[in-house]
Amino acid sequence: MADSIYHEMKKEGVSRRDFLKFCGLVAGAIGLEALPPVAGFHDVAAKNEQPLVEWVAQALESKPRLPVIWLEFQDCAGCTEALTRSQSPTLVDLVLNKITVEYHETLSAAAGFQVEGAKQMAMKKYAGQYILVVEGSISTADDGVYCTVGGRSSLDLLKEAAAGAAAIIATGNCSAFGGLPRAKPNPTGALGVAEIITDKPVVNIPGCPAIPEAFTGTLAHFLVFGSLPELDHLLRPKTFYGVTVHDRCLRRPFYEAGKFAASFDDEGARKGWCLYKLGCKGPTTYNACASMKWSGGLSFPIQSGHPCLGCSEPNFWDGGGFYQGQSAPLQRSNLTQVGIAAATGVALGAGVGIANARRRKKPVHSTEPEKKE
């Protein structure tokens, strides 16, 4: 049995006090207010009434490090960038050191056959135990020729790695729902992970990029409880994707008051009014941006003056213009279409009118003598 995470940390000179602090941070990262409904844990928790931090500490003291294999397909590495530049160093530390990243194309120092070989070894060694993280969509059109790594298609690589995974985390909109590569007309036949892998637990952490804390929180949840957190119908953890951006938005009072910025440089924009009229997709976007924010809680798009694009929702790229109000229709008829519709109406009206007039001619003749004045 490999050393537990606590033992590894102890070896690195981390004190018990610092370890418990770290556990508190992890509990926070999971987004735990109370113990989640995880089989086994809940009953014990109800009896013992242990503080959450102790649960986390117990888990980290008894569990070995978590092997992770990270695959990148049709992506921009933005989710990795966001994670490595996250302003919560201890959380990145958690992901990059306390779990074992066995394979990661962007972060690996090694390259070529050696690193592919290392991946194969890791998949064998940790079969059934590792977490597979997928970043980027999977190309399925034309036998997947549009995205290959080491001469093999993304579809092939995903299926191979998924076979031995304990669970799959799809980070970013691309791997969750197909993302930008899937935008119309979707030339590469891009799909999200959950549409391809149906026999393994998949959790989606959509976003463009995914909020690093949402990713690490989900991973920490798996580390502590050995299972995935509670998911919504789009397989997103409810902890982070339970409410809309609109619901937690700092500009929400202005929405209620009917105070809107009408352009990016008018008085309303300078006063920080609601960006709904500028196309904000906050009301239909489920994500934690407004509450967790970015860069260590510094800001998020709406706070910085830009409407939400809805990047944690499927097909956000094709969901109408970014700067078009959300209530506006997705398709608009051009004048020709409206003209054709109106002309159809005129033709129908005239046709029916003429037909009726012809039919009426005879009876009018016969009823004329009965007319009284």
Binding site: Y255, Q324, G325, S327, P329, L330, Q331, A341, G345, G349
Partner: protein, 225 residues
């Protein structure tokens, strides 16, 4: 069920088609009504027709909100008169002066306008919904109305009620997720748009015709409408 797909359909192609059907249908009705023409006027007019028309419209616009009690309809059944008025006022404010609806107009017409704060629109929407319920109850218990109410009348009520209720629930995030309610709202609106030309909801256009014709008749006879 993937509600995002349903929403995309209801906001996209379905709405577009419904709008075109609405335009074609209303133009058809308009052509049919206009082609009826004025009935021949063989009697010399005793008063000004134009004045009668102007007066008729002025009364229609001013009496309800300001002095409803001068009308017999109001005296006989004030609750129904007020419910009808409140419903129309709420509907007008919601679809013209509600921000999300103004953005729909803006995307269709290319021009936008200032809107009212949400709480005001919200209360009027709630008022309109309550008014609709009162009117529906009245239709059930009033013997004369019951007699002249066929399936079309009930469908009128239903097809207007559904967009109102789903819109209200959507604003307040009641019972279902936002995109579910948004989808239901748009589907209800689409169905209503297709229904309007074949139903009496088309009175939003023909009201002005009948007001003009009645006004001209009153003016001709030199009586106050």
């Amino acid at each position: 069920m993937d509600w995002n797909k349903i929403l995309e359909f209801a906001r996209g192609p379905f709405f577009n088609v419904a709008l075109l059907v609405f335009v074609a249908g209303m133009v058809y009705r308009l052509v049919r009504v206009v082609s009826l023409g004025w009935s021949p006027d063989r009697v010399p007019a005793r008063g000004s027709k134009a004045k009668g028309v102007a007066l008729s419209f002025l009364k229609g616009i001013l009496i309800w909100p300001f002095i409803p009690w001068v009308k017999g309809t109001f005296k006989r059944n004030p609750i129904i008169y007020l419910a009808g008025g409140l419903f129309h006022l709420g509907l007008f404010v919601v679809i013209i002066l509600g921000t999300p609806h103004m953005l729909v107009w803006k995307s269709l017409l290319g021009i936008g306008w200032p809107t009212l704060p949400l709480p005001i629109v919200d209360w009027l929407a709630a008022g309109a919904i309550v008014a609709m319920i009162i009117l529906a109850i009245n239709r059930v218990i009033n013997p004369v109305l019951k007699l002249i109410s066929g399936p079309a009348e009930w469908l009128n009520l239903l097809f207007v009620f559904l967009p109102m209720v789903t819109g209200y629930m959507m604003t307040h995030h009641l019972f279902f997720r936002y995109e579910v309610l948004y989808s239901l709202h748009m589907l209800a609106v689409d169905v209503m748009l297709i229904w309007i030309p074949v139903s009496r909801i088309s009175h939003f256009m023909f009201y002005f015709f009948s007001k003009a014709i009645h006004g001209a008749d009153f003016g001709k006879r030199a009586v106050t409408p």
